[in-house]
Symmetry: C2
Subunit: 315 residues, 2 copies
């Protein structure tokens, strides 16, 4: 599934143009599944907020400084124009260390916004997901889930994690949050994460993830391998005829040497970032494929132990 970014697309080229070009599927000529986020995360992290209240957020575009609004209704309208298969409610995603009072207010606002999203969403060919907030507070996660479940979303996301808290706090939060969500609907952990995070989260019942890590690391010449992370710019790869990962069967590992891939990065050829990202995505895909196989065979816990032991050795 491709995740396309509502905030960036709304600013450039604009949702109306994407709609006119047949939505994201037509625009990108991609007939596989697409998910769009609500735009809220970037509004809160990239843009300069000039006003926020229950009605809407008013913010400055980070591109040209123009003043724009985002409300639950406009988040739905923009995502309908973009036309992804899965779309997200507008939520308020607070930093992990906000005081309890403000965290509670963010949860309640997220619930009210979710109801307005549900109400204003019109397209029946899109699955609208609700987002549970509440940081690392069990009572707030319960409060959030209680508010959202009556809205009967076809899928639920866990938001507000991987925002600076310790991994152990994230796993603990998942321990009590995932069971609050319907088993028969996809459960999506937003913005996560490292391979170990995916492993820990899947075993706690998470079905869906998104993360920049495989592609951002790939663009920066850092690759995941069965022997640990490899930094391709390192001089020790200069004459290495071996593949990125001898255990990987991806098109990059079966066709190109570390020496060639390193050369592409040093010479600033765009093929370097492309191939490294391709391999990293293959690494993630294979990890999850192997994990699914292990779970189906009732060996999920063993797979976790063996995988953690490998990662600890390779660090």
């Amino acid at each position: 599934m491709v995740l396309s970014n509502t905030y960036h697309l709304a600013l450039r080229p604009g949702a109306a143009i994407v709609e006119k070009m047949g939505g994201l599927h037509g625009f990108m000529n991609w007939d596989g599944p697409i998910l769009t986020d609500s735009g809220g995360f970037q509004v809160f992290s990239l843009a300069q907020i000039s006003k926020i209240n229950d009605e809407k957020v008013t913010f400055k575009s980070h591109i040209d400084g123009s003043l724009l609004d985002l409300s639950p209704e406009s988040a739905m309208r923009i995502q309908e124009q973009l036309g992804a298969d899965c779309i997200m409610c507008l939520d308020q995603c607070p930093p992990h260390d906000w005081p309890m009072e403000k965290m509670t207010a963010a949860v309640d606002r997220t619930t009210r916004w979710a109801a307005r999203c549900r109400e204003s969403h019109r397209r029946t060919d899109q699955a609208l997901f609700g987002i549970v907030q509440g940081g690392t507070h069990r009572e707030l996660r319960e409060r959030s889930a209680e508010g959202l479940l009556p809205l009967d979303f076809p899928g639920y996301a866990v938001g507000g994690l991987s925002v600076g808290e310790e991994p152990s706090a994230m796993y603990e939060t998942l321990d009590y949050t995932v069971p609050l969500l319907p088993r028969d609907r996809p459960r999506y952990l937003m913005g996560v994460g490292r391979p170990v995070d995916l492993l820990e989260a899947v075993l706690r019942g998470i079905d869906l993830f998104d993360c920049v890590m495989p592609t951002r690391n790939g663009r920066n010449a850092t690759v995941f391998t069965s022997q640990g992370m490899v930094k391709l710019r390192n001089a020790k790869h200069r004459e290495d005829p071996g593949p990125l990962d001898p255990e990987c069967d991806c098109p990059v590992c079966t066709q190109y040497s570390r020496a060639y891939l390193r050369h592409l990065f040093i010479a600033e050829e765009m093929l370097g970032p492309i191939l490294a990202s391709w391999h990293n995505l293959s690494y993630y895909q294979r990890l999850l494929r192997d994990l699914r196989t292990a779970i189906s065979a009732g060996r999920g816990a063993e797979f976790r132990q063996a995988q953690l032991a490998r990662w600890n050795q390779s660090v």
Copy 2:
């Protein structure tokens, strides 16, 4: 055929490393034909020359300032390490406006260097091409060809054109230079050119070209179409659902709109340069394919007239 650059590869990653990785075919995992230039053109245009005599050129690397040599013998040795299918003699490619005396000296040096290249080239699985120099002077082109033909190269290049002279001077030079070269060997016009130049040169007997134009223009959002050049960043393409070129059947034109391609460039996505280069290469390939068909049918001159009329209309 892929042209790989001897100067750049010799500096980075170094010819010995490429050789160790199985030559360029193994290094790039490309089993199609490859040609390397001699490195001379970049030494004379990019590097700072510190000394040149009949023996060799001594120059400073533009990357780290280190002092390096290039001689006919080392040009052969490096190109043997790189392992391309077609390789080029080291030549001296002067500016088009050099005085006759210096031009003559460059021709004679190019002939002496060609003999040394022929003598020191060992690999029998590579075709070594000689390069005719002499600027836009008929007597010098004749002098150059006379010096090279006894060396019995399997292919001949015309160098020293497209270096600042008028297109009409280039075509005129080809009028008398191409007939000096054997009809049964490939004749290669180096560093050329615009679509119109390819058309004019093929009709004068040229078989092979190299040029950065399709990919460099593509990277800079400028594309060749049957309606003329299109600058994709132009705002008028912002909502254009049409293809780059309605007459083109390449994978870019059949799959993506101008609006999408423009968006990729504006958003600085590397897919923009990739797709625009792909289309431009398709444009060049189609032009030459159509020209070959026309020539085979005895309609080369008509094809030229019709094509020139189209280009004049679209300017």
